[in-house]
Structure formats: structure tokens, C-alpha cells
């Protein structure tokens, strides 16, 4: 009987640990009332290849709730251009496996815009982009998602360690047009979350 109790207790402990390692999803930013600290960083206004013009809270489209972040950008085509928004906040994502955001371009936007997440991590403020972009689909919410765990291939030239997700200092979302398409209009961002 004692042995059975020990086994049951051990099993309970193991299960408990596993549950703690995969916490419930956490919405970091849902833009229901304001931009929650997100902005176009000053350095982007000074660079010719960054074409985000302004950012605001919007109720035009939302993937969750009623509000989203609206970024207006002017992609002129012919060269690589990006529109970037950023929040600076110290975050410990140790309990989480992935970071995600939902992006929407209006139905009349051209096909070809792409987007990625970028983290700034650690004491060295290391700029770490996703290893690939995700294609945006006009008229549809598209989720951009990246794995934070060791072994993930989702980060450019980076093999994430446990420390990687423990010390996130900035989160950026960048929309890109690589020579095409030409687009002057809004991109909506919502439901930035970790899971």
C-alpha cells in the first residue's frame, strides 16, 4: 500500500511539473483602449527604408475584442521597405513556448506583403529576428508565430536557450515589401500573446 502511495505521489509530482512548464496563454497586448506603449521607434523615422508613417488605436478590425493597432505605411515598391512598430518592456517568458501576433491587411490591399516578429534580448540588447517572414493575406487575419524553446529554428542565426526567453526587452513587429507590392494604407495588429 505504501509503495502504491509513493508511486501515486511521484506521478502527481511529475504531472504537476509538466503543467507548470506549459502555462496558460497570456495576452500581452490587445489594444482595446490604447496602444499600450507601442510606437514607431524614432530610429525608423530616420531611415529611408522604413516607411511606417503613423500608428494609432483602431476599432476598424480586431482579431480579438474590439480594438487593434493600426499602422499606416507607404510601400513605394522597387526596393526593400519595412514598416515597424515596437514596444520596450522587460518580459520574462520562461513559462511560455511561443510568441504570436495577428495581422490583417484590408481586402483591397495587394498580395505580397510579409511580416515577422523581432525580439531584443538580454544584457547585450541583441536584435533577434525570426528566421522567416510570413505572408499576409488581404482580407484575412494571419497569425505570426515563433517557437521560443531551445532547438527552435524560428530565430535567425540564434539557437535559443532558456535564458533567451527569460530576458526579452523589446518586441517588434515588422511588415515588409521586398520591391513589391506597392501599397499605401493600413496594417492592423492585434492579440500579441505568449502561450
Amino acid at each position: 500500500m505504501k509503495r502504491i502511495m509513493c508511486v501515486v505521489l511521484l506521478a502527481a509530482m511529475v504531472l504537476g511539473c509538466q503543467v507548470a512548464a506549459h502555462a496558460a496563454p497570456k495576452v500581452l497586448y490587445d489594444f482595446e483602449t490604447d496602444l499600450q506603449g507601442w510606437e514607431i521607434p524614432d530610429w525608423a523615422f530616420e531611415q529611408d527604408d522604413y516607411v511606417g508613417e503613423n500608428v494609432s488605436q483602431s476599432k476598424d478590425f480586431a482579431s480579438s475584442g474590439k480594438g487593434s493597432m493600426k499602422v499606416v505605411a507607404n510601400f513605394a515598391g522597387g526596393a526593400w521597405r519595412g514598416a515597424i512598430v515596437e514596444v520596450m518592456e522587460y518580459m520574462d517568458w520562461t513559462p511560455y513556448k511561443t510568441v504570436s501576433a495577428d495581422l490583417y491587411v484590408p481586402a483591397d490591399a495587394p498580395v505580397g506583403l510579409r511580416a515577422k516578429l523581432i525580439l531584443t534580448v538580454g544584457d547585450d540588447w541583441t536584435w533577434t529576428e525570426m528566421s522567416k517572414t510570413v505572408k499576409l493575406e488581404p482580407g484575412k487575419w494571419v497569425t505570426i508565430n515563433a517557437n521560443l524553446l531551445p532547438g527552435s529554428m524560428d530565430w535567425k542565426r540564434t539557437n535559443p536557450t532558456d535564458e533567451f526567453r527569460a530576458d526579452v526587452r523589446k518586441l517588434d513587429i515588422r511588415v515588409e515589401s521586398n520591391k513589391k507590392p506597392v501599397y499605401n494604407g493600413p496594417v492592423y495588429i492585434d492579440n500579441v500573446r505568449v502561450e
Binding site: 528566421s131 522567416k132 517572414t133 513589391k180
Partner: protein, 250 residues
Amino acid sequence: MLGERNTMTITIAKHIVAFALILPLSFTVAGCGKKTEQPKAVTAAPKTEVAPTAAPKMETGESPAQASAPVLSKPITEEKTLFSFENGNDGFEIPSWAEETPDIVGKSVTLSKSYASNGKQSLCLVADFPGKIWTSALIELEQYIDLNPYRQIAVDVYLPENAPLGLKAKIILTIGEDWTWTEMVRNVPLEPGKWVTIAASLEDGSLDWKRAEVNAAFRQDIRKIVVRVESNKRPEYSGPVYIDNIRVGK
């Protein structure tokens, strides 16, 4: 005067005879024309390369046939699947540049449960090869990938049984800061009704890549992976090609 002319004639004749004797000898020693090295790919053809008409039979339930195994310094003992398409297309698509290229004839790419070499799903590339000219259909992933610990890259490709013989496939990588387009040196013939593995060595000095020096710098800065299916004037084929289990080995 006549004597001098005779002397000159004899001298010229002697030179002609000497030249006629030496010329064949020079061919034997030096080869015709400018001496060039054999293309490295020819002198180091994989030992296990199989001609298209002699592709191995595959029994039901067997692993995909490796129609052209790359030459490796030692066998692969550990494989890692990079993309199995079990949860989505993993970022593979027909790239927008291909849609504007007339000899690229891929029409769509979707997930499929019809055939899979690994798990339950594969990527289904629908193509329309018209025949009579060289055309291809391809899928591409643009992603920064470091494959430095690995010695081989491979993918499985399946054609339905009713597809014609003659389609071939290869892997293409885009490498480094110059985004260098780097094709496998050889195509691998596809076999209707069978999964065929396309594989290439990533080892230092590998001869599997056209005009490329394969080393650590090559492996660690891969920016695109392309799987391309080709019809060189024939066959004509309009239908699906299934792609699965893109993997690396060490």
C-alpha cells in the same frame, strides 16, 4: 640555282615528314586542344547512382527508394526532420517570382492527406507540364537556417501511379549574403507510384552542388530551400506531385 632549289625542296620535305611523324605523337601525349580538367562531378559520380530506367523496385511498406545516394564519408546515423507538413505548409509556397516566369508551371500548393512518407500529411504541388519545352514546378521556403552539424539534406517526392515516366527532381539552396542560387548537380528521376528520396551531401568538399564550395560557411547560411520538379520537353503531365519529410542527417 637548280642545286640550291633541290636542297631547299629536300629540306622542306624533311620538315614535312618530321612534322607528320611528331603530330600524332603529340596528340597521344597531350590530348586534343586545350587540356582541361574533367568536371569534378563526373570523376566523382556517386557509386550508388542508378540510371533512370534501373530505379530500384520498392516493396509495399518499404521506405522511399533512394534513387541516387550521395557519396558520404560515413553512413548517416541520425536524421532530423525539418519539415513534415503535419501542421501546415511550414512556410513553403510557390514564390511570387515563379508566378511571373513562363517556364515555371506550378499552379498551386496545398496540404494533402492522400500520400505521406512521414506522418499523415504531405505538401501537394499541382503542376501542368505541357511537354515540348523544358518546364519546372517548384516550392520554396525562405528561411535563415544553419545546417552546420549536418552532412546530408534529403526530401521525399511522390508521383501518382498514373503519372508518366520522365519527371525528375532536385533540391536547390540559396546560400549566403549574395543569395547564391545553388542547384544539385544531378536530377533524380521520379517513379510513378513510389516515394523517391532526393538527397545530397553537405559534407566539406561535397561534389553534389553545382559550382559550389561546400564548407561550414555554406551550411550555416542557408537562406532558401527549393524543391524543383522538371520536365525536359517530356513528359507532358498535368497533376499533383507530393513532397514530404524534408530532413537532414548526420
